[in-house]
Symmetry: C2
Subunit: 237 residues, 2 copies
């Protein structure tokens, strides 16, 4: 059975007819757990399955010549890990479990059959790729000053976990370490820590453990210059 987050995520991308929904929910899905620090996919692999995160957080990353790591994207519950599989391409980066994860996978051949029956799925895939691309571009554009970068990342992750709340106080469960954040923004863990402190001093966030409280999400958006529109591909025509 297809787990709920999967079909909900697809439904968020495109309008599914009743028939489409039936096709998607009849896809044969397997579940597996992946322990934190374990790689789900490695660079160079040609996965035969489309993996999607059901529970936990995963991350795309590459290792640099000096051994340091750059995280190029986070995958949250409902996100697809291996669009490369659907394009029959080798991975040009690895994917790791940032927390313990529950992962669903679907054979690419089954996906292809489903696309043939329900062409809507093709545009869903295209949209996922557009959003991924937009996120990459945004990260690139946004890498100027460390505080703003951190604020922006918090805004992005908040918007992706709680897409409907747009004003007032809010909260973000950030189940990853500050080192992960550092790897994602391309700066030192030590420096990330100082930037967290700065945001606290500016009273834009507070946190206990790994729950970040955001007293005024709009204020954080302004600080980060965050515009969530890149996260939702615009409607098809």
């Amino acid at each position: 059975m297809v787990p709920k987050p999967f079909i909900e995520h697809v439904a968020r991308l495109v309008n599914l007819s009743e028939r489409d929904r039936r096709i998607v929910s009849s896809l044969p899905v397997s579940l597996m757990t992946v322990k934190r620090h374990r790689d789900l996919l490695s660079s160079g692999e040609r996965p035969d399955y489309l993996y999607t995160v059901v529970e936990g957080w995963a991350g795309r990353y590459a290792i640099r010549a000096d051994g340091s790591r750059r995280i190029t994207g986070f995958m949250l519950p409902g996100d697809f890990c291996s669009m490369h599989a659907v394009c029959r391409q080798a991975m040009d980066h690895s994917i790791t479990a940032l927390t313990d994860c529950l992962i669903a996978h679907i054979a690419v051949s089954d996906i292809e059959k489903a696309i043939a029956e329900a062409p809507t799925l093709d545009s869903a895939i295209r949209r996922v790729k557009l959003i991924d691309e937009a996120m990459l571009r945004t990260w690139l554009v946004n890498n100027h000053d460390a505080v703003r970068m951190l604020a922006h990342l918090i805004c992005e992750l908040h918007a992706r976990t709680i897409p409907d709340i747009s004003t007032g106080p809010s909260t973000l469960n950030l189940p990853i370490t500050q080192e992960h954040v550092a790897d994602a923004l391309g700066i030192t863990p030590v420096h990330i820590n100082r930037m967290f402190r700065k945001l606290r001093e500016e009273k834009l966030i507070t946190f206990s453990g790994r729950i970040i409280d955001i007293p005024d999400i709009k204020a954080l958006h302004r600080r980060a210059n965050f515009d969530p529109s890149y996260l939702r591909a615009t409607s098809n025509q």
Copy 2:
């Protein structure tokens, strides 16, 4: 008539049958010139045409809150500017002519017709998007130290203009200003200039005007830790 660079570029992506070639070369194409500093497409637009560069260099860019610009990609002769058009999506960034450009454009509706007749084109489009994505990821991973970044960019542009030469001395015509390079790497023009000097001092490049001479391309690759494989999507199964 379709200009040569267009069909050659498509042919570089996928194997075209004689029939495919005929379909592609019968696409109705219009040519236009775009003066340097002129925008070809603006963020938010929904272009009805697929634009491709025939002569000159163009660049994708976004403007930051503080007014500064980030170039997120270069488009060289043969490159496609507006894949967003094919996906019927609004542009999330602008495209500008970095030099005087000759631009070809093809109506998206005609492209769609051609795809229906020659499905190979669909995989060509997918491959273009994969390469674009890989370039973005590489830029993100590679933004650590300024000399290396510059060396890497030179390698990338060299590999894209002269894809077959892989060893020995070589040359790169860089028709853009150091400020453009700075905007692409996210650092100050002043600092870029110093990094150019550093590469000269390391005897990895020399230049007069805008022609960069590379005495030993392999040495530059090593310095930049450049691996060109991300520029060519692997073959389709």
